[in-house]
């Protein structure tokens, strides 16, 4: 009887641990996407879509494997519009650690990348910004190039970084 009682306590303990882990997970989940108006001029134009690693091919087929190799856990994406002039997409890749985020960011670097102080590392181009912070890798790409695009992208990038 004593053995059976011990077994029951073990089950309860495991369940509590699972619950605690679940709550922990919930607490650690972040919504990195600024709402409409949170950043001057930027409007969030669609619902956030989330892809688990196994489904990432549905979003970035062909690119997914390099993220999976680097330890992607999930990818969230949403579209934005700036002053009805610039449309952009924000991708937030949650990796299983900072190393994966660093690896992906370094893979995409070119000589013309401008280093910008944001997060752990940030690079900017005329129509895109990419940065990493802890396990997160963020890429923001604009579809139009206007004189305001670089500044507007950085404002949005800072807002995303602040939410991570």
């Amino acid at each position: 009887m004593k053995g059976s009682r011990g077994w029951r306590w073990a089950v309860v303990a495991v369940a509590m641990a699972g619950l605690a882990a679940g709550v922990g997970c919930k607490k650690s989940q972040v919504d990195p996407f600024p709402a409409t108006g949170a950043v001057t001029g930027w409007q969030k134009t669609d619902a956030t879509r989330v892809y688990a690693a196994k489904d990432l091919w549905q979003y970035i087929d062909g690119d997914a494997e390099q993220y999976i190799k680097a330890g992607v856990v999930s990818t969230s994406t949403s579209e934005y519009k700036y002053d009805d002039k610039v449309e952009a997409v924000v991708d937030v890749h949650t990796m299983n650690g900072p190393e994966g985020a660093r690896k992906i960011l370094e893979t995409g670097l070119t000589k013309d990348a401008k280093k910008v102080p944001l997060g752990d590392e940030c690079v900017q181009y005329a129509q895109s910004v990419a940065f990493r912070k802890g396990p997160y890798l963020v890429r923001i790409v604009a579809y139009e190039s206007t004189p305001e695009t670089p500044q507007a992208l950085m404002a949005l990038a800072r807002a995303v970084e602040a939410k991570l």
């Binding site: 091919w57 062909g62 690119d63 997914a64 494997e65 070119t110 895109s128 604009a142 139009e144």
Partner: protein, 335 residues
């Protein structure tokens, strides 16, 4: 159960038969003194085809298409050329598919201007609007091209495999066991392939043959080993081989690195359309274009970057016979 040797022998025989079926023979009308016995690839360019906003000019795209098709078919009258394409492709009175590529998202997808130019010429050649079906994987990909979804047969139809669904039974060829889109298997009598030229992080280059990954349910199953032999095997599947009759490749804009997604920092404007019935020759030419651009900006070759498009040579080998990758057997016509 067939041995590997028997399978390859049978597949190779089938490949020869299918190869002859899939050719429209349009290039035969060209000057016989040039490129005899070679696969023709037309590269039509217009340096002013893209406007200051980076979007192609509709009229210039139509004119470029006409120039490309005239060079390929030898028919100066575009309507006559398109009538011949439809007739020889088995598309008369039937549904003709236009398979786009919107995977890379807005900014690096088949341009709507090209799709609409082809749809316009097809209608002038007597094809009913409802018998033209523009399709891709899903609505998101089609919208990325700048197209609107339309399932009403009163006009040109445009929808994805997410609407039509996929076959439950698989086709089989080598390593490829795809469940194909019902748009391909049940709706289209012939399909014109409209890929967009891009660098590809695994395959090296994506253009004519790689665009077939958008006709099956789970393309990620064929991504191993740089998509080799996945691309070649998939293109040997009988339904794909018999229905895809002509490729009009979009190289109005392209990414020479960082693909297949949109990387504005690697965007470039070849300002070109490429036409051929030989997918292998077309992909070989596309590879050369990407390498030329990479050399121009001081980047590593795809071989040095660890991702040469090996599937192109595989597609040309004795077991696949999809076309030629031998530059000596490719007759490029630049117009």
């Amino acid at each position: 159960m067939k041995s590997r040797r028997e399978f390859l022998k049978g597949a190779a025989t089938g490949a020869v038969l299918l190869s002859s079926q899939s050719k429209l023979g349009l290039a035969n009308v060209l000057d016989p003194r040039e490129g005899k016995g070679k696969s023709r690839v037309v590269i039509a360019r217009d340096p002013a085809v893209n406007g200051a906003n980076g979007r192609p000019d509709e009229k210039r795209v139509l004119a470029l298409l006409d120039r490309a098709m005239a060079a390929y078919t030898g028919q100066k009258n575009p309507v006559v050329a398109w009538k011949r394409i439809v007739a020889e492709g088995g598309g008369e009175g039937k549904v003709i598919g236009l398979k786009t590529n919107g995977l890379g998202g807005r900014g690096i997808s088949t341009h709507a201007e090209l799709v609409m130019a082809i749809a316009e010429r097809l209608q002038q050649a007597g094809v009913k609007p409802g018998n033209i079906l523009v399709w891709d994987r899903n609505a998101r990909d089609l919208r990325a091209c700048g197209l609107e979804i339309n399932t009403d047969s009163a006009g040109v139809r445009c929808y994805g495999s997410d609407v039509a669904g996929f076959e439950s039974e698989r086709e089989n060829w080598g390593t490829a066991h795809p469940q194909l889109s019902k748009i391909l298997t049940r709706e289209c009598a012939m399909v014109i392939n409209l890929p967009i030229l891009k660098d590809h992080s695994m395959a090296g280059v994506t253009f004519a043959m790689k665009n077939m990954y958008g006709v099956l349910q789970r393309p990620n199953e064929l991504h191993g080993a740089g998509c080799n032999p996945g691309v070649a095997d998939l293109n040997c599947c009988p339904t794909i081989r018999s229905k895809f009759r002509l490729t009009i490749g979009d190289a109005l804009s392209s990414v020479y690195d960082g693909g297949p997604g949109f990387r504005p920092e690697r965007l470039w404007y070849p300002n070109a359309l490429l036409v051929s019935e030989d997918w292998v020759a077309l992909d070989q030419t596309a590879w050369e274009m990407i390498e030329h651009k990479r050399a121009e900006v001081g980047m590593l070759t795809l071989e040095a970057a660890g991702r040469p498009p090996r599937y192109i040579a595989t597609a040309a080998d004795a077991s696949h016979r999809l076309g030629t990758n031998d530059p000596k057997r490719i007759h490029k016509v630049e117009v």
